[in-house]
Amino acid sequence: MRTAHVILAAVAALALVVGPASAAPPEKPAASHAGYVDGAAFRALIDSDKDIVEISLEGPTLRALCNKKDEDVEERELYCQLKAIHAVIGSVRGPAASALTLVQQTDQKLVAAGWQRMTRIKDETSSISVLTHVSGDQIDGLVALIFDSEDKELVFANLAGAIDLNRLGEIGDRFDVPGLDHIPGAR
C-alpha cells in the first residue's frame, strides 16, 4: 500500500511538472528582440520599378534552417542562434543624397539608442556602416548599411540574435555572391 502511494505521488508530480513545462510558451515576435531593427524606412526608398530583394526570415523558417541536415555545421549553428534575419536590397528612387541621408540618420539613431558603431567607411561613391547591439558580453544584433551612390544600390541587413562575428566572417568568405566586390574595403 505504501509503495502504491509513492508511485501515485510520483505520477502526479511528474504529470503536473512535465505537463505545463512541455507546453511551449508562445513565441515572442522577432520585432520585440533588442537586436531587431525595422527596415520599413528603407523599403519606402526603394524603386518599385526595379529589382527589389526583401527578406524576412524568423520563427519556423529559421528553425528549419537550424535543423537542416547539412554538412555545414558552422552555418547551421549560426542560424540556430538567430531570431530574425531580414534585409532590404534594391535601387533607391530619387536623388542618391536622400538615401545617403537616411543611412546616416539611421546610423545616428541606432547609436543614440545604445547601438555600437563598428564601422563607418565612406569614399567618393560608397558608404558602409556596421552597428552592433550588445547585451552583457554577447552581440545580439547587427545592422549593415551599404549604399553606393553611383548606381544607387542600397543594402539594409539586420541580424537579430546571438552573433559570433568571427564565425560570421568565416562563413561569409565562403559565399560567392556576385556584385559584392564593389563594397568599399571588401576587395
Partner: protein
C-alpha cells in the same frame, strides 16, 4: 432407433419442467406411435436416476466460508483499495494534465515550411549573411589599410609629413 424432432422436444420439456410428474396423455399417445421417442424418454429417466443415486460428499464448512470470503464478500469490502486506487488516481491526474496541456497549447501547431521554402530561405539567408560578412570584412580591411597602414606605420617609421608634426 431415433426420436422424432417434435417428440424429442416434448420429452425434454416434460423432464425439465415437470420432473417426477406422470406422463401427460398426449405424450403417452405419442409414445404409442413413436418407439424412438419412448426409448429416449426411458434412457433419460434412467440417467437421471443413476446420477441422483451417486453419493454426495459433504462440503467442509470452512471451505464454503473461504469461497464466500474470496468471492462475494471481498469486492464489497474494498473495490477501491491499493493498486486499484493508485491506478485510478494516476489516470485522473494524467487526464487532467493532458487537458491542461491541450488548453495551453491551443490549436494544433501549423505545419512547418516545405523543402522548397527551406531552400529559398537558405538562399536568402546566405545573401544577407554575405552582405553582413562583407561589411565586417570591410571593417577589417579599412582598419588594416587606412589606419594601421597609412597612419600608424608611418608614425612608427618616422614618416609623418612635416606639416603634420607638432611644432
Amino acid at each position: 432407433m431415433n426420436a422424432c424432432d417434435i417428440g424429442r422436444e416434448r420429452v425434454h420439456a416434460h423432464l425439465d419442467e415437470t420432473p417426477g410428474a406422470a406422463l401427460s396423455e398426449s405424450l403417452s399417445l405419442h409414445f404409442a406411435t413413436c418407439p424412438g421417442c419412448r426409448e429416449l424418454y426411458e434412457d433419460l429417466v434412467a440417467l437421471r436416476a443413476a446420477l441422483r443415486a451417486r453419493p454426495r460428499p459433504e462440503l467442509p464448512a470452512d471451505a464454503l466460508e473461504a469461497v464466500w470470503e474470496r468471492t462475494v464478500r471481498r469486492p464489497a469490502a474494498g473495490w477501491l483499495d491499493g493498486w486499484r486506487r493508485a491506478a485510478t488516481a494516476a489516470v485522473l491526474v494524467t487526464a487532467v494534465s493532458a487537458s491542461t496541456l491541450w488548453l495551453l497549447r491551443g490549436s494544433p501547431a501549423p505545419a512547418g515550411p516545405t523543402p522548397a521554402q527551406i531552400a529559398l530561405a537558405e538562399a536568402q539567408a546566405d545573401l544577407v549573411l554575405s552582405y553582413a560578412a562583407r561589411a565586417i570584412q570591410a571593417t577589417r580591411t579599412a582598419t588594416t589599410h587606412r589606419v594601421v597602414g597609412s597612419k600608424i606605420s608611418p608614425a612608427v617609421r618616422g614618416d609623418v609629413p612635416s606639416d603634420s608634426r607638432r611644432r
